[in-house]
Amino acid sequence: MAEYEFPECTSFGSVIRFALELEKATSAIYDDLAARPELASTKEPLKALADSHRKRSDILEHTRREKLNEMILEPIQDIDSSNYVIETEVPAGVDVAGAKEFAGKVELTSSRFYLDSSKTAKSLLAEAARILERMGKENEANKARLDAL
């Protein structure tokens, strides 16, 4: 069983670490769902969603490396990370409807995290804020993709 560590969001680095954990967990959830025989009819779209979350990890790593600037390394004091921790263990035997509901909750929680973080980041790093906002909107789009399955 994979373990994920969702840190307190008290710094820019820890916000990105939280996001990386979200992406790692979410891609693993989709990989798990895509591998289940009972969900074979949705295998390809689920694999595509897993891949898209892996790609987002690369974007986050790049953001952390390229955008950090000591002039705006301010402590972050207004994000309560416990509001955004996702359920990472998919119950056994879920059908397509159950899988959609489980993954949909993950996408919506992630979306809230990214959109709220984006508001905080706006006063620190405008470019990072844009990236976080875009990710939040992608989560919403992913939820719509799930609904359409």
């Binding site: 840190p7 307190e8 008290t10 680095g13 490396r65 950090l68 390394l73 402590p75 004091q77």
Partner: protein, 493 residues
């Protein structure tokens, strides 16, 4: 939260890098390199001898003729390769810095980025180093040219607070302009440069062009006395900066010596308080206050004093301390037991002088890091301009809170300081901001910015006792410092 992995537990005894090779120092005297968070010894640094330093300088001098004749674009290409290697090793550079210096991983990553930026700017040397000319400039049929030329061997004596970045304010520009280089890293934090030299070794610089000598004062004095050395760059305390400026002057060398600081952050009644407080936290507590751009005096002007203090104290209490390899940590320890004692002495002195300690960082204890040199955020109210704590450099996470009636009072207070490194104003008034930036005699001015850290393409400035010399590190100043102008007047019969 789990820590990011340390790159190594023990880095062993460091070698010098001379003439393109790693060499053991013959010195029998080593210093321990301590992790200031855990107290563990993570390496040993030799106190290299004068002869070893001379060998490095002579290797640099020998390499110089060929290096200065290497076309600038070819020299630049090696810097591109170095940049690539630094990007590949980005995280290791940052984590080693956390291990030996104590800063947080965010701070170390930010510093690594700034270090790379100096390599990027220096890689633009074919454009930066162009001279100028004037056809018929001397007389009809007689042209005049100014050619920018390198001078020989330069060196750097580096401080402990920015183990990666500060040497890179200097050496990439020196070497890109066609000089050769000898670096003495800080004996407190030698691992970062040792690690970066392993990348320099792979980048393709010819032997002797860049050299590293570990050690202490014997190395520095040998560099300043050696006739091959054309100039020295230094960053550290004001007394040492003065010593270096004088000694280099006596020996006919160029010198840029950055000294101490006592930076005031002035908050006007019309400032945006939430954003102001958040930004000031980074200035006062970033790198545990151990930077020459750190805020030290918080000057409240007029009736903002009460509400500002309340918000600032509340936010300061929420600063999370710990090992910088925990990404949620906001502030690490100071660099050594000696540094901690010095900071605590200043707080004790302020209390004895009648100031009120609103938040007291003297007893900071971090579970699991009992041997760490932690001083917590400290806010001292009731500080007056005549108190020692308002005048001297502390180099720790200590905030002296002062109240002034007018902006002019605040500026007068800033001007009474012997230092002139940085000052910031927080305001929404363009008029006040313009007045502040025009009036204040400091080299780095912040308008709603508390850490006025010049980018690689601007000089890192400093006035008064904060800087001794003419040309600063980074940017065009660096190009001027490491070169001279050769004027050529040409006539053809």
């Amino acid at each position: 939260m789990a820590l990011l992995p340390e790159v190594k537990k023990d880095y062993g005894r460091l070698k010098n890098y001379v003439n393109g090779e790693w060499v053991d120092s013959t010195s029998s005297k080593d210093l321990d390199v301590e992790n200031p968070t855990t107290g563990a010894t993570i390496g040993k640094v030799p106190m290299s001898t004068a002869d070893e330093t001379k060998a490095a300088i002579e290797a640099a001098q020998e390499a110089w003729e060929a290096w200065r004749e290497t076309p600038p674009i070819t020299r630049a290409r090696i810097f591109f390769k170095l940049k690539e290697l630094m990007e590949q090793n980005f995280e290791d550079i940052a984590r080693i810095m956390v291990q030996e210096q104590g800063k947080t991983i965010d701070e170390a990553r930010g510093e690594t980025r700034r270090t790379i930026e100096n390599v990027e700017v220096a890689a633009g040397i074919p454009s930066l180093m162009m001279g100028y000319n004037l056809e018929d400039g001397a007389a009809e049929g007689i042209d005049e040219d100014a050619v920018i030329s390198p001078l020989g061997v330069f060196g750097c004596i580096a401080p402990f607070n920015f183990p990666a970045m500060i040497p890179y304010w200097f050496w990439p520009y020196a070497v890109a302009t066609g000089n050769c280089y000898v670096m003495k890293s800080s004996s407190q934090v030698p691992l970062t440069q040792w690690n970066l030299f392993s990348l320099i070794d792979k980048a393709g610089f010819p032997p002797g062009v860049v050299n590293l000598v570990n050690g202490s004062r014997e190395v520095s004095d040998t560099m300043m006395d050696h006739p091959y050395m054309k100039g020295i760059s230094f960053v550290g305390s004001t007394p040492v900066a003065k010593y270096i400026y004088k000694k280099c002057g006596e020996n006919g060398k160029r010198v840029q010596a950055q000294g101490g600081a006592k930076n005031s952050l002035v908050v006007m009644p019309d400032s945006v308080l939430n954003r102001t407080v958040s930004n000031m936290l980074a200035s006062f507590y970033g790198c545990a206050g151990q930077r020459c751009l750190a805020g030290s005096n918080l000057v409240a002007v007029g009736d903002v004093a009460g509400s500002l203090l309340e918000k600032f104290v509340d936010a300061s209490k929420r600063i999370k301390m710990g090992y910088g390899l925990d990404e949620s940590v906001n502030m690490g320890p100071v660099v050594s037991a000696k540094a901690k004692t010095k900071v605590i002495d200043y707080i004790d002195g302020a209390e004895a002088a009648g100031a009120k300690i609103l938040i007291d960082g003297r007893g900071a204890k971090i579970p699991g890091y009992e041997k760490g040199h932690f001083v917590g955020p400290t806010v001292i109210d009731g500080v007056t301009p005549d108190m020692k704590i308002a005048k001297e450099e502390i180099f720790g996470p200590v905030v002296s809170y002062l109240r002034m009636d007018t902006l002019d009072d605040a500026i007068d207070f800033i001007h009474k300081s012997p230092f002139g490194n940085a000052a910031s104003i927080y305001t929404q008034s363009g008029k006040d901001a313009r007045y502040f930036r025009h009036k204040v005699q400091c080299g780095n001015i912040g308008i709603n910015i508390g850490v006025v850290a010049a980018m690689a393409y601007f000089p890192f400035a400093g006035y008064k006792d904060s800087f001794f010399g003419d040309m600063h590190g980074q940017g065009r100043d660096a190009i001027s410092f490491f070169t001279d102008r050769k004027v050529v007047i040409t006539r053809w019969f």
